[in-house]
Symmetry: C3
Subunit: 266 residues, 3 copies
């Protein structure tokens, strides 16, 4: 199902414009480069429209948001909409503070977002189902999270990509369950943010955003599996190997290892 997408990313080398947090910005840039696309980070309100016009996708991440930065995100997002460029939103910490919840909702009201990528709490909160978050990490139980993902997808006519042990991707109708990945990925700050960058790279070359997001998360998880299998001794060495494996991925390895389970919704 996802055959050829990595090759297309590497051939087209789409520019992935990020407006993102200060914590994992270097990691996102490197992940974008490793997967085969070109990263650019730019948030000044005077330049975001011009920058996004050259981009294949726009990734918005509110991890260390300010009100000015959110304004730049909306300016860039609206221009991306005008030009038909997919927008990925990573609502980091939505639910942890009103500023984060309100900003994520405001972006969703003003920008047509192609993919919302978040953890269980963030997705649940944006779907209006409540949720508990400790800083930027989901805590608590989420029964019926699949329906929550669908509800959020339908609320905004978007694709939802919820990352967890099993990732869920849905456009409200088609559902992909993805079982790739490795627990070590949770030990490194920024693996969530980088996943959004890789989704951006795939969405830049594949118009079916649910398929793009599912393929991206499987691919990304496979890199984590490969890195973990290489004898790392902790999160520090894992992280270095993870970038190696993201860079070294091939269509063959992806075909062999991908665990995407597409489910047509009843």
């Amino acid at each position: 199902m996802i055959k050829g997408l990595l090759t297309e990313v590497r051939t087209k080398k789409p520019l992935i414009h990020h407006i993102t947090n200060m914590v994992t910005v270097s990691e996102c840039a490197n992940a974008t480069l490793c997967i085969g696309a070109l990263p650019v980070m730019a948030h000044a309100p005077e330049e975001v429209e011009q920058m996004v016009t050259a981009a294949g996708a726009l990734v918005l991440n509110i991890g260390t948001l300010t009100q000015d930065q959110v304004k730049s995100m909306i300016i860039a997002g609206r221009k991306a909409n005008e030009k038909g460029i997919p927008v990925i939103l990573d609502p980091v910490g939505a639910g942890a503070t009103d500023l984060r919840t309100d900003s994520a909702n405001e972006i969703l009201r003003q920008v047509r977002v192609s993919v919302i990528k978040g953890n269980r709490a963030e997705i649940s909160i944006l779907a209006g189902m409540g949720g508990q978050i400790k800083g930027v990490e989901a805590v608590g139980d989420y029964s019926d999270i699949l329906n929550t993902c669908k509800a959020l997808a339908n609320k905004y006519g978007t694709t939802v990509a919820m990352t967890s042990k099993q990732d869920i991707v849905t456009d409200g109708e088609t559902v992909y369950l993805i079982d790739n990945g490795h627990p070590f990925m949770g030990k490194v700050v920024g693996t969530g943010c980088m996943a959004a960058s890789v989704i951006g790279a795939y969405a830049a070359v594949e118009g079916d955003t649910a398929k793009a997001a599912a393929a991206a998360l499987a691919t990304y998880g496979i890199a984590g599996e490969m890195a973990a299998s290489r004898g790392c001794s902790g999160p520090g060495t894992f992280k270095a190997l993870f970038f190696d494996e993201l860079h070294n991925l091939s269509e063959e390895v992806i075909s062999e290892r991908q665990k995407i389970n597409p489910v047509r919704s009843e």
Copy 2:
């Protein structure tokens, strides 16, 4: 003396709210996660009060300060005081510019700080004893640095944690001298900043802040020793291994290797 603190951090997983510099913010987040706590970075004035309310400790670092950021630090710090949440201050580069010295002093006037963590020059300058700093690195000789640490601790009724070849921690009365660590730690940018994150994690679970800071610095130094012993070939590989070892620490290794020498002041 410090037995059980690491386990408590890993069990309680306190949220460590950072308002910090743009250089080592990723390192601080990863160190926090590796030690077993949860990092969150948030500096927008509209959200810092709400974020810190959920935190186990607040870490303030002026490494790339702006006046707006210092305002957010004070807002967050005052809320932390109100809620009884420990505040760690890392006065990076105090003495290098008036803005840094004045901002550190202003924070100390407006916020009750639990631990001031700094190098010899920063501690000496805040104690009013003068000192020389080249950018953010202490230079010059500091005779009688122990009394300088005590003087600063007494000036603000706080704990001072001075990092050097031998770390000094004092609340003005009890003194801990800590001989853990490795010279390689001085070759990686951010080891000072990360130490403050680890102190924050320990202060979140141990009310005796001098004990918490001493335990944190010993633990942190041990991770450095372990990493250096693993055959790294320079600062780049050392850094990856350092995160591994911070993550892999056990109570047993800490008990065996800790070199904390408590000295009751005369």
Copy 3:
């Protein structure tokens, strides 16, 4: 020709003041430390004059510029000029947006820059010869790039250091062609930015800025060659080894491996 410069950096440990982007700021600080100088990052308008006064060089990088940050760059740059401190400009993404092109030109009008370090597109655009850039990466063909470098050097009475497979350094008259480096360096985000930091360290100890820049780029490329020869398996492990090798460089290795070809212009 470049013998002794590394030793001089390591003996004098000049402070390299950066006003730089949020993506690679940690990498720049670590590269500065690895080469033997001291990094400091400071951008608040209230402190940049005081900070730069203590510095051996000032590095300005517009990778994630804002208008406020450019103002700080100009304040710092003018003070550096007044004090005779060399200024290195990395015009990241000039040509990609008007804000970047205009800001780079404004800095060049208001500050006497010692070295402009850029890729083919950035140099060509600032020389007024046009050029194509995708985000921050040069695309397209650049015939006669040597004359473009000379033209830019002469336009501002500065040294131009253009990084590519073969680096070109020229002060408008003397030309150095440098063939050190490794393709892996293009797989890691920030290798361009870090090159400017190393040029800053060398310019702090060598008044002939063309010679300093050529020596810095050769030295830097040699670290890349050494890292690549150590069996890295991708960009992540390469990056760790690159910092190791930058730190482990010796005058002997540099003498043996340097491929600087000085060409007196006709």
